[in-house]
Symmetry: C2
Subunit: 175 residues, 2 copies
Amino acid sequence: MSAHGSFVSDNEKYASTFDKGHLAIPPAKKLALVTCMDARVEPLSQLGLNLGDAHVIRNAGGIAQESLRSIVISQYLLGTREIAIFRHTGCGMLTFTSEQVRKVIRETHPGNDAVAHAVDKLDFSEFSSLEESVKADIQFLKGNPLVLKETPITGWIYDVKTGKVWQNSSSKITR
Amino acid sequence: MSAHGSFVSDNEKYASTFDKGHLAIPPAKKLALVTCMDARVEPLSQLGLNLGDAHVIRNAGGIAQESLRSIVISQYLLGTREIAIFRHTGCGMLTFTSEQVRKVIRETHPGNDAVAHAVDKLDFSEFSSLEESVKADIQFLKGNPLVLKETPITGWIYDVKTGKVWQNSSSKITR
């Protein structure tokens, strides 16, 4: 049974009470969130945001460096003026190295040269500390000439066991 | 007033009734969703998914090519076996060209060589058709040696004015 099999019927229920068709394309709170793809993360409810409030950029780990294209579009074309980096406890990115992932992939496709070649080109951007990775992302964004100066950039950590959020201790960096 | 000013107080309400601390890191429905950062998109409620069901990868447009690192981690380390591409009507990516964005950015920073150099290296991955861009993403994933063969990959379009979802007409592609 595929997950997509129920998309249409479940969406019919959602659409039957939908009343957000008036929302404009620029995010109401002028906020761009960068967070992890983790299935236990749902940043709107966890941070008290509503549909329409924020751009939500997500990838494995919530890596801001990979999100630069999106952040630039968010700021220059759609008017966001604040960035929040939202990491979480129990992140898979704390549990492996790029070389270990490459080995798993090569072993899944023994003798496959196309796979071996493709996997060698991928950096998996793992990290060993949530706090330090948030700090590194904030420093990257603050140092990047394309990110608008004076953009408040904060870092946050969410606990997947308790639902609680706190501000990253290393996230208050002046430019 | 910054958006992040209310994160802690709003999160306290969320955490006070939180009962999802038991969720495991692998997504329960073995699904990886790729969708746009647009503020009007919230794929869990719009597709009838629950917290813990799916990896959610988001960027400007919901471009799968930019998501390959995340998809590989999702499949090989966290066991997802299905991918859904979820685009939406009224997408900003339909409204500009990369050259137009570069011009806006250069004009924001007149005479700034660091900006001019950085912006020339960015491709903004705009598209001119939702349906064709979904199809192109599915073809990219099906042709990539790192994506597990036999992965069902479907494409969906969400209408931001009505809340309705339908399957992309070009999304049923056999490998």
